[in-house]
């Protein structure tokens, strides 16, 4: 299933946040959206998944979601959004409970996603016992359990320290290599964008418009820290964003 964004604009009262966004998210690719803070990245993601209604334009699902998909558009949040009173498996089963799955299928889905995120040994742990990186892996497992057509990731690594971020980025790449998921990945971190994105969409500062779409035609596996091409693209993105970020930085909150 693809996701197509057509002429999307959004404003909160008088504050224009997004202007005329056109975007394609094709099956099997990760589209990273970067932009200075306050440019409407997160709003765009909420619009994509139907958590908010656009002022103008529309978001279209193209094609059918994969068989067995319980929730085609599924989010991974920056703050994990785990229920603190439920265990790891309880947090995953929460999103399966309303779908009248057989006990065997529920168990199979939980076991599968926990295995893929290497959390099988921590089924009974509660969020409080887990590190930030593990919490986010639980959230990713929860998202994968509904077999989404498109994963909508809202700065999923921003709440983590830089070492954990590296580890989790490797995990995401492994997950993608094993089973190619489709994703829209919001971040303000250029390194994440160039490591994970098949396409990097650069938004301007508010009101956010698409300044540039950079296609990165290199297998995710090869994009190591020391790769000069990756570094070059990151520099290129930064040159593009620098002024916008500077201007956004001195803007007063409206």
């Amino acid at each position: 299933m693809d996701l197509r964004v057509e002429g999307l604009s959004h404003r909160y009262d008088d504050l224009e946040v997004l202007r005329d966004i056109n975007l394609e998210i094709n099956a099997g690719e990760i589209v990273c959206v970067i932009g200075p803070s306050g440019c409407g990245k997160s709003t765009l993601l909420r619009l994509l998944g139907g958590l908010e209604q656009p002022s103008e334009g529309q978001v279209l699902q193209v094609g059918e979601p994969p068989a067995g998909s319980l929730n085609p558009l599924t989010y991974v949040f920056q703050d994990f959004a785990l229920l603190p009173w439920r265990s790891v498996e309880g947090n995953v089963s929460l999103v399966l409970e309303g779908h009248r799955l057989s006990a065997a299928e529920t168990e199979a889905r939980i076991a599968d996603v926990l295995e893929r995120t290497r959390l099988s040994d921590f089924r009974k742990a509660v969020p409080k016992q887990l590190s930030g990186g593990m919490k986010q892996r639980v959230a990713i497992a929860r998202a994968l359990s509904v077999n989404p057509a498109v994963l909508l990731m809202d700065e999923p690594l921003s709440a983590l320290d830089s070492q954990t971020r590296e580890l989790l980025m490797d995990d995401l790449i492994d997950l993608w290599e094993r089973e190619r998921f489709t994703s829209c990945y919001i971040t303000h971190n250029l390194a994440e964008a160039v490591r994970l994105g098949h396409k990097v969409v650069v938004l301007s500062r508010r009101p956010g418009i698409v300044r540039e779409v950079v296609e990165i035609d290199m297998p995710l596996k090869e994009r190591t820290l020391s790769n000069p091409v990756v570094a070059g693209i990151q520099q290129q993105l930064w040159d593009m964003m620098r002024e916008e970020a500077q201007a956004a930085d001195v803007e007063l909150a409206g």
Binding site: G49, L51, L70, N71, L73, T74, Y75, F77, D79, A81, L83, P84, W85, L94, V95, E97, G98, V126, K128, V146
Partner: protein, 277 residues
């Protein structure tokens, strides 16, 4: 103090004073010391008993604890204790349970629905501060002099604190969790039952602590009017007859009621809120 040479190899001047850094952290963290609580009770009771025996406390002013204990044993042996307790516990249980359930329903409605909030929240604020004892005569007219008015008094007494605690708790539920539920397509009912109410539970339980105490107070007040049996009736009768030993025995029973209810809620907190620690 001015000696900031790195490495520590610099020959210190012989007259330089060295001393360990003074500890100034710690404190402000009271820990429960169980034994001390019991000890306080024991010391107080012993002093009281001794005072009564030696005549420092005249028997008319305050009977000795041992006399109150005897009055309690008389009550137990006469077989009336069971009747009083049964009557009181029945009213307390019925009033508290119904009031709490209704309070939870209305509190949840106020917490989640704009119309319910606009319509009911001001009403609750207006009625909550009215002492329900003042309404007892009305309740007697409405619900009869029998059990109805007594249960209704307790019910109203714990309804309002529960409503306020519930919608306060729901207001402070992390909206990110609710967004998460919506983003996974959970039904409204599932979001309420599996996300909103568990997250509001700490506030609801501390509201229950308050409403339980209120219901014990109201129980006695209600039983002082036209009740044959019940701890309140017993205390009232004792007061009218100036038999202060019975009065103390009755009041002590009420205190034990309160402690028991408090303990039960603590158990519930430990069971249901274990995830907080």
């Amino acid at each position: 103090m001015a000696d900031v040479t790195a490495g520590g190899t610099a020959p210190a001047a012989p007259q330089t004073e060295t001393r360990p850094v003074r500890f100034r952290g710690g404190g402000f963290l009271p820990k429960p010391r169980r034994a001390i609580g019991f000890l306080t009770f024991a010391v107080l009771l012993l002093a009281w008993e001794a005072g009564s025996r030696t005549g420092v406390i005249p028997a008319l002013v305050l009977p000795a604890p041992s006399e109150a204990w005897e009055a309690f044993m008389d009550l137990l042996n006469s077989g009336n204790l069971q009747k009083h307790l049964a009557a009181s516990l029945y009213r307390l249980f019925l009033g508290f349970t119904c009031g709490t359930i209704l309070g939870l329903i209305v509190g949840t409605a106020i917490g989640l629905n704009s119309y319910a909030r606009s319509a009911l929240a001001p009403l609750v604020s207006a009625i909550f501060p009215i002492p329900k004892i003042a309404l007892l005569p009305l309740f007697i007219i409405w619900f009869g002099i029998g059990e109805g008015s007594k249960v209704a008094t307790i019910l109203f007494g714990c309804f309002f604190p529960t409503v306020i605690a519930t919608y306060g708790g729901i207001d402070s539920v992390d909206r990110a969790l609710i967004r998460m539920g919506q983003s996974f397509g959970l039904s409204r009912w599932h979001i309420i039952r599996k996300i909103v109410l568990p997250a509001a539970l700490p506030a609801i339980l501390s509201g229950m602590r308050i409403s339980a105490s209120i219901s014990i107070i109201l129980l006695v007040a209600a039983e002082m009017i036209g009740a044959e049996y019940g701890i309140g009736a017993y205390v009232l009768l004792a007061g009218n007859l100036m038999s202060t030993d019975q009065l103390i025995a009755g009041v002590a029973m009420l205190s034990v009621f309160g402690l028991t209810v408090n303990y039960l809620i603590t158990l519930a907190e430990r069971r249901f809120l274990a995830w907080r620690n």
